[in-house]
């Protein structure tokens, strides 16, 4: 019962999905011990950040039915907020807090403005306008190089507790040294979990139901007395706030931030792919999508390298399997999933489970 309450009554509703989710959580928790090495830890940390980011995007796309291309803008605001504060004020928790608060306020105001001005129009226009705003913001950030470090970005030190130099104890535990990186990682996992459960709570509240109603039929929702513009704007603001937090987490983990890590349009496309492949309209989809995508992004290339070398005699196939072309295959998967299984992996699993019982 406690479990069900924790998940806000939104259980996985599929045995396979439940197993997958538990496996992901366990995998994340055990990464430092099971997969030693900096790369695995970085991949796991990135998965955590993107779970929050993709879930926040799903709040908008999957639950409210709004396509926004400005999501990385808010992600970037969070990351830059922390980066600029820590860079200017030195490594302290008050700097982190200040950075996060200022970034949140900025995101709040921006998303409110964009929402109020442009959520009245059709989906198509909103997509275009957000694309334009996001591009402008990216240019803006790289122009303010005094603050943002321009194209080079900013490096900074994290608060002492989280820095690699900090050591909890002299003796390694199960072969893993208990340093600041480990603390940072578990802090990241914990915050991710809290934020995710919070979002789950939001989408399963009466408010979340109204959002879904708007997605299904905005006209009818309006006729039932819900002001769709207000709800859409709320959804926009909430999603921006969570994206900002995800950005702050990313910056804290990387101790670096630049346009390519948090603001670029490539990341926007990545998020879109993760949401759709994982499954729109269910937050578990973002967990599955983000995990799958990032693992593929980091490890598929090795596999493709092998395949490409194996095919070195066949010219076209070799180029198609070139490790740099991993996005091609995910793009095809994306197009196919929009047609064939618009509810994504999670939706597919749930339908299957319903069919069995």
């Amino acid at each position: 019962m406690i479990f069900s309450r924790l998940l806000s009554g939104d259980l996985p509703r599929s045995r396979v999905l439940a197993v997958v989710l538990v496996a992901i959580l366990a995998g994340l928790l055990l990464t430092p011990f099971a997969f030693p090495g900096a790369k695995a830890l970085n991949v796991a940390a990135k998965i955590c950040v993107f779970i929050v980011l993709v879930a926040s995007f799903d709040l908008l796309l999957g639950y409210t039915g709004i396509v926004s291309f400005a999501h990385t803008m808010f992600f970037g605001i969070g990351a830059y907020g922390v980066a600029i504060a820590l860079n200017r004020m030195g490594p302290s928790w008050s700097a982190v807090a200040l950075g996060v608060v200022v970034a949140l306020l900025l995101s709040l105001v921006l998303s409110l403005l964009i929402g109020l001005f442009s959520l009245r129009v059709k989906a198509m226009f909103y997509a275009m306008i957000t694309l334009a705003v996001a591009t402008a913001f990216q240019t803006f950030a790289s122009q303010l190089s005094e603050f943002t470090g321009g194209e080079d970005g900013l490096t900074f030190k994290a608060p002492e507790l989280l820095s690699p130099g900090f050591s909890l104890s002299e003796h390694p535990f199960l072969g893993v040294s208990l340093d600041g990186r480990l603390i940072a990682f578990y802090l990241l996992v914990a915050v991710t979990l809290v934020l995710f459960l919070l979002m789950l709570r939001i989408v399963n509240s009466p408010f979340g139901r109204v959002l879904q109603a708007i997605r299904e039929n905005a006209f009818r929702a309006e006729a039932l007395g819900y002001q769709t513009v207000v709800y859409r704007t709320c959804s926009n603001v909430l999603s921006a706030v969570f994206a900002t937090l995800a950005g702050a987490l990313l910056a804290l983990w990387l101790r670096y931030n630049g346009p390519d890590t948090s603001l670029s349009f490539e990341i926007m496309i990545d998020i879109l792919l993760m949401v759709v492949i994982g499954g729109m309209g269910t937050l578990y989809g973002s967990v599955v999508g983000a995990t799958l995508f990032i693992i593929v992004q980091n490890y598929l290339q090795d596999l493709m390298k092998l395949a490409s070398e194996g095919m070195s005699r066949v010219p076209l196939l070799r180029d198609l399997l070139h490790p740099d072309r991993w996005l091609l295959w995910l793009g095809i998967l994306f197009v196919l999933s929009v047609y064939r299984f618009p509810t994504g992996i999670v939706g597919k699993l749930r339908t299957k489970a319903r069919g069995n019982t």
């Binding site: 198509m124 349009f265 792919l273 070139h322 996005l327």
Partner: protein, 339 residues
């Protein structure tokens, strides 16, 4: 009220009044920039640069706006056709270096024209496949359309990288296109003149087709009211695929022009220009070719004037322009009836 309209309809169809105010924007803007810039010769150079840029943008964006007008399909993957055109131009021109490097204008043209033709044919063909495979299954579902065309673009760009590689490729101008002509003190780059000529011819042909032929009549009618055209027995689907192919071909042509304008091409160039295209078609009024033409020229002029007067502002000049135009006319310069 009803009586008067019926008598009017009996006499003749009332002529559609041409809205001239947006047309005036261009000269007004150009003249307003003159005192700010100060020097007349610089102003001529900048104006020409702006017009050339605007013409190329118009070639690219005209297909996008018509496709949207006809079927409410906004193709986020339009950029792929631009990139495709530019890369084809590199391939074709690369084989004809003897002619592109000869100083004779005729030979240069004989090299560039096949490149343009190849770009248009291939981009049109790919456009046909794109419409069939990517867009057709999701008619009337805007959310899916946005995502699917985006996905189509990702796959398209990756395929271009498979064929031509991921790095930037230089696309040098043919010899006779380089350099500039002097009008008094004002220097005008030759290529910009060529762009203006090509752009004007495309506009003229398109204007003729749209306003003087039956096909154009059907397209315009379809943009106004799709169902009515269908109910009169015309297959709007076929019309649409024709327009889509033509739009893709024009994007291919625009890609060649834009590639030569920039002189370097990258697989990402199409995606980067997408934002500009959206701004142009929003300014013009979604679905309006005339609006798209004026919007393109405005964007081109403003970008060049702002780039000279205040380089920092120039990066945002397009968005500012869009905001100003939308505050004046929220539906764009030439709103298309039904929306």
């Amino acid at each position: 009220m009803t009586a008067s309209t019926t008598t009017l309809a009996q006499d003749a169809l009332p002529a559609v009044k041409l809205d001239r105010i947006p047309l005036l924007l261009l000269p007004v803007l150009a003249l307003a920039a003159l005192p700010l810039i100060g020097s007349f010769s610089t102003w001529v150079t900048l104006t020409f640069a702006g017009l050339a840029m605007g013409m190329i943008i118009f070639i690219i964006a005209s297909g996008l706006t018509l496709v949207f007008g006809l079927m409410d399909v906004l193709n986020f993957g339009h950029g792929v056709f631009i990139t495709l055109g530019a890369f084809l131009a590199v391939s074709v021109l690369g084989r004809m270096t003897g002619w592109t490097e000869s100083p004779s204008l005729l030979r240069n043209l004989l090299a560039v024209l096949p490149a343009m033709a190849a770009a248009m044919v291939v981009a049109g063909g790919v456009g046909f496949a794109f419409e069939r495979l990517i867009i057709r299954p999701v008619y009337g579902q805007p959310l899916k359309q946005i995502m699917i065309t985006m996905g189509g673009m990702i796959v398209g760009v990756e395929l271009i990288k498979v064929i031509w590689g991921a790095q930037a490729i230089p696309l040098p101008l043919p010899t006779a296109f380089r350099g500039s002509l002097l009008f008094g003190e004002a220097a005008v780059e030759k290529y910009r003149l060529i762009s203006v000529v090509v752009g004007l011819s495309v506009f003229a042909v398109m204007f003729w087709v749209l306003s003087r032929t039956k096909l154009g009549l059907l397209i315009r009618a379809g943009v106004q009211d799709r169902e009515m055209v269908e109910s009169l027995g015309y297959r709007i689907g076929r019309l649409f695929i024709g327009v889509f192919v033509a739009g893709s071909a024009l994007a291919g042509l625009g890609g060649v022009m834009w590639g030569m304008y920039q002189q370097t091409i990258t697989p990402e160039m199409g995606g980067q220009i997408n934002v500009l295209l959206f701004i142009v078609i929003i300014i013009g009024g979604m679905g309006s070719v005339g609006g798209c033409f004026i919007g393109s020229l405005l964007v081109g002029l403003v970008a060049n004037y702002a780039g000279f007067l205040a380089p920092k502002v120039a990066l945002f000049s397009n968005i500012l322009l869009m905001v100003i135009v939308l505050m004046w006319r929220p539906e764009g310069l030439y709103p298309v009836g039904k929306r």
